[in-house]
């Protein structure tokens, strides 16, 4: 771990827990979240009585007080939610770390649970997003009524431009899918366990929104993940090796919208650049210090663009960066060794944080040797967040 400085190194992820990942959980979203929290507490040897804080996504349908009731928590000193869809994932951990670093709370559990396949499917056209009575609804008035209203379509618009600007191809996007599915193939918890794909499979999968093929798109999944965050000192005394939170950042860019930041001259995802610069500032580390990454992969093009925004390669250079298996488990810079959200499950980025913790512990099904530090990111195309986790 790095010597504590500001937020860096003050807190650690001590426990991780999850339900099974499926297409139909058969139980309520609230129950899924409560189960995941219980698993995460058992993982690190803490009990409900130790927990004094809960954080989740604004989008989560299970409030902190509802989860607290089901868990039997007597009191709660800290509760918080983060907005902007999957961009919240790493920020729930940032909230927890800040609460712990300031003494506001001692044990904070971050959770996210949903029936995102069997109930409210995010991949469908969202009438609710277009009609919400707030500024996000007003923002969506400029795209949804025109027919642009699925996550795939909003990302495809960025992908077309990225291909035009830098000569990237669909095959370049496909290499992300191939890596994810290779990793999922050896992960028994992954929906696509035992089912790797080739680049030819990717290319022959049907078009969803040109230029995105089906295999550029993540799954829709039912499930929940929870993460237990405690102080670095306390983590050292618990059951599992700590994953120290060396940096935790949020980022929003100029003229920022939710999935439709189309009105700035260079569209792209500069909000992830904000996250990256803050991660490197807090940690005193840089891209060269990261052994691997868990980059949010709801759609493959944004994985390439994240590599550029975080400084792993220059603008437009990601197609070369991901070539020749570099991002596969035996490559120089493995990504998404759990299978990512294309291969394992789409739990809004929280399952990726859990995989980061497993890599620090050395318990991943696709272990990478010598992981001292790794980077994890949250949802792209939205105001977002990221973490540097360290052994």
């Amino acid at each position: 771990m790095i010597a504590p400085n500001g937020l860096s190194g003050r807190a650690a992820i001590a426990g991780i827990g999850a339900t099974e990942f499926s297409k139909e959980s058969g139980r309520s979203e609230l129950q899924l979240s409560v189960e995941a929290v219980q698993h995460a507490l058992a993982d690190c040897g803490l009990t409900v009585d130790d927990v004094d804080g809960l954080t989740t996504f604004t989008m989560d349908t299970s409030s902190e007080i509802a989860v607290a009731r089901e868990l039997g928590m007597k009191e709660m000193r800290f509760f918080s939610r983060i907005n902007y869809g999957g961009g919240a994932a790493c920020a729930t951990v940032q909230q927890a770390a800040m609460a712990i670093a300031t003494g506001v709370a001692d044990v904070v559990v971050c959770y996210r649970g949903f029936n995102e396949r069997s109930e409210s499917r995010f991949g469908q056209f969202s009438v609710a997003a277009a009609t919400q009575v707030n500024t996000n609804g007003l923002d969506n008035a400029w795209s949804y009524p025109m027919g642009l209203g699925t996550p795939a379509a909003t990302v495809a618009m960025q992908a077309t431009r990225y291909m035009h600007e830098y000569g990237a191809t669909s095959e370049d996007f496909g290499r992300v899918a191939v890596a994810d599915r290779r990793h999922a193939a050896t992960n028994p918890n992954a929906f696509f366990y035992g089912r790797p794909i080739t680049l030819e499979d990717h290319q022959s999968s049907r078009m969803i929104v040109d230029p995105l093929h089906l295999l550029d798109c993540c799954q829709e999944s039912d499930g929940a993940v929870a993460l237990v965050v405690v102080s670095a000192e306390r983590a050292a005394d618990l059951k599992q090796p700590p994953a120290y939170i060396t940096a935790a950042a949020q980022g929003s860019g100029a003229d920022q919208f939710v999935m439709t930041s189309y009105y700035r001259s260079d569209i792209g995802i500069p909000e992830m650049g904000v996250v990256g610069r803050e991660l490197w500032r807090q940690s005193g580390l840089g891209p060269a210090d990261m052994r691997m990454g868990i980059l949010y992969d709801h759609f493959t093009p944004y994985v390439l663009m994240q590599l550029e925004e975080l400084g792993f390669c220059g603008r437009g250079e990601a197609p070369g960066f991901v070539a020749d298996g570099r991002i596969e488990v035996d490559g120089a810079f493995p990504l998404n060794t759990h299978g990512g959200q294309l291969g394992e499950a789409y739990i809004h980025g929280m399952n990726g944080i859990a995989e980061g913790v497993r890599q620090i512990r050395g318990t991943s099904v696709n272990p990478v040797a010598g992981v001292d530090h790794l980077v994890v990111t949250a949802g792209t195309g939205v105001p977002t967040s990221g973490l540097v986790l360290s052994a």
């Binding site: 991949g123 469908q124 056209f125 009438v127 277009a130 009609t131 919400q132 009575v133 609804g137 007003l138 923002d139 969506n140 008035a141 400029w142 795209s143 949804y144 009524p145 025109m146 027919g147 642009l148 209203g149 699925t150 379509a153 495809a156 618009m157 960025q158 077309t160 431009r161 035009h164 049907r206 078009m207 969803i208 929104v209 040109d210 230029p211 439709t260 189309y262 009105y263 569209i267």
Partner: protein
């Protein structure tokens, strides 16, 4: 057919735009104080900070900055596939718009970045008229010749 059409949220800061499309005008917010244009609109001028806003009527011409062909899943009120583009208006702002008649019978996109577009209007009902876009140079079978009109 109006069933299933996605209706835009409208508010004090955006009503003028939709009043414009109903009148056959594509309106862009303009700051009365400094003249800056802004899209999407909002209460403030992001250039000078004033709350004194009016609008100009756009020429209704622009260039494709990016586009998609939406094939799946279903979109309420639309028969798929549809082409949706980011249109750089000649006035200097950018909008999202459906480009009609830009998919061939075989389902291929007949649009490219840099092509010229011209606005048109699709009246849904008394409360909603959507701006739509057409290729400025009509296609002649397989030949696409974007015309530079500026």
């Amino acid at each position: 057919m109006t069933a299933g059409v996605i209706r835009p949220m409208m508010g004090r800061d955006s009503q003028f735009f939709w009043d414009g499309t109903a009148a056959g005008e594509l309106r862009i917010q303009q700051c009365n104080a400094c003249g800056a244009l802004r899209f999407p609109p909002g209460p403030t001028c992001v250039e000078c900070g004033k709350f004194d806003r009016g609008h100009v009527v756009a020429a209704g011409t622009g260039t494709v900055f990016s586009y998609v062909v939406h094939r799946y899943p279903p979109v309420p009120g639309k028969e798929l596939p549809i082409v949706i583009a980011l249109v750089d208006l000649d006035e200097g702002v950018r909008m999202v718009g459906e480009v009609v008649d830009a998919v061939s019978d075989s389902g291929d996109a007949e649009i490219e970045i840099g092509m010229r577009l011209r606005v048109d209007y699709r009246r849904i009902d008394d409360d909603l008229t959507l701006p739509i876009w057409r290729l400025d140079t009509p296609r002649t079978s397989a030949t696409r010749r974007p015309k530079e009109t500026r």
